[in-house]
Symmetry: C2
Subunit: 244 residues, 2 copies
DNA sequence: CGGTCGGTTGAAGCGCATCAATCCAAGTGG
DNA sequence: CCACTTGGATTGATGCGCTTCAACCGACCG
């Protein structure tokens, strides 16, 4: 699909992705006896306003969680990969809707069962806290992204997030699959699909990446990509008059 | 200071504020034997890049946590009120700086001590998870705000957040104190201080509020304020073609 | 092979940022 | 107690980045 000489280096940072990342030890174990449920592309797993009765574990496929505000504006709050948990931190009633990005298999557990299961084992409890902390850290990165980054920086940041995520799943390397459509990327990044498109085009022109079809991206220079993501790396980060 | 007839209603929603909200049962108890440290206005409690060695409890005053990105752009990640915890979900090394918004007293605990203290008591552990979940919910609201809300909506949302926060502290009512300067509000909302100003002026023109000095705001109509915050309440929320 | 849906590209407009005065409140020193 | 100082707040004028609107492309599917 691709054939070029590219530069490549393993990452040094690790900010986790979105929703609830990797269940390392075995929070999954709580779900292992639950039946697997199937959802078709676009199907709704739970809806804004529903009672938040369950915690969900993604087995296969992928979910997006979205929120709608006045005027029908849409925001993608997060994406959930296989191994991710969904609904742990939900308010009751749910403030947010979860939909399948592709054909997806999940297991569910009632909130009570989940809570009891976690409390029975201090390791699981510790792991849960760890997970929530990683989530918070990722959410804070996202907040900075949305508050202050430019369109190109946002897209670069998302691509890096996806790349790290794949790496964590052992599918590392310069060729990444962007599993969501442009509109989902846009609503995740606080942009429009057109702006995401233009940013991707710009990155291709800059020789940072090459796209192939809608979902395949080859990263030609991870270093350039990281530099364009807008975070303070060695180089940048001048001072700024803090007030006034 | 103010003298007008205003409409007022208690809130129905409860999304919590920023950083780490209220320590209801007694996560505070872990800190009670620690010495109190004083910080002057603007002083740094911990700095981006430091080893994340401690968890902090705000006793009095207020903190802001900020992140800087390439080009010196600044984002306020959150504000911490008395009773809030800071540093629970920090990565090591710290990705973020905490500064005193006003003369502030805090207590600190090493991360190990904190972890051990929490683990010794399942109630504390439960409370910690609760806290982190509230944080996540607040962070998600913030993400939606930054991704899709207009300037006026953002300012309204912040005012409501402050108002709810004061209410929780038993200082409810239409007269609220906005403890941070316009620049901090702006960097929290992903705007500039000028835009925050103009939004406040607009809200005053609309008869939603009256300001008195830099930090005092009288909310004349909480209902209008809530309607202008952009969230889907009864009224809004048309459909929207989900793709394309 | 035509239809559909997402993606891409172009042109025009708007909301917020930027730049620049001026204002105002709080503190300071006489 | 009041001039003076200083830093944040406010208001105005201008510019830019992203959105919006619109047309077209291209892949996938029946």
């Amino acid at each position: 699909m691709f054939s070029e000489t590219i530069e490549w280096r393993t990452s040094t940072a690790d900010p986790s992705f979105v929703a609830v990342p990797t269940i390392a030890p075995r929070l999954e174990s709580l779900f292992s006896h639950q039946p697997v449920e199937q959802f078709k592309t676009g199907a709704t797993v739970f809806r804004e306003g529903d009672a938040a009765t369950h915690v969900f574990g993604v087995v296969e496929g992928m979910l997006r969680t979205i929120k709608i505000l006045a005027g029908g504006r849409r925001a993608v709050v997060g994406f959930a990969y296989p191994g991710d948990l969904l609904g742990v931190s939900l308010r009751s009633p749910n403030f947010g809707t979860a939909e399948a990005l592709s054909p997806t298999k999940i297991r569910r557990l009632s909130r009570d069962q989940f809570r009891q299961g976690v409390q029975r084992c201090s390791e699981l409890n510790l792991r849960l806290v760890q997970l929530l902390c990683e989530d918070m850290a990722a959410a804070e990165d996202r907040i900075v992204l949305l508050a202050r980054k430019t369109a190109v920086e946002r897209v670069c940041s998302l691509l890096l997030l996806i790349e790290r995520r794949l790496q964590k799943a052992g599918r590392g390397g310069p060729a990444i699959e962007v599993p969501m459509c442009r509109l989902d990327m846009a609503d995740y990044l606080g942009l429009t699909k057109e702006t995401v498109c233009r940013a991707m085009t710009r990155l291709a022109e800059l020789g940072v990446l090459v796209t192939s079809g809608r979902h395949a991206v080859l990263i030609l220079s991870r270093v350039k990509l990281a530099n364009l993501a807008g975070d303070v790396d060695g180089e940048a980060g001048f001072s700024r008059t803090p007030h006034n």
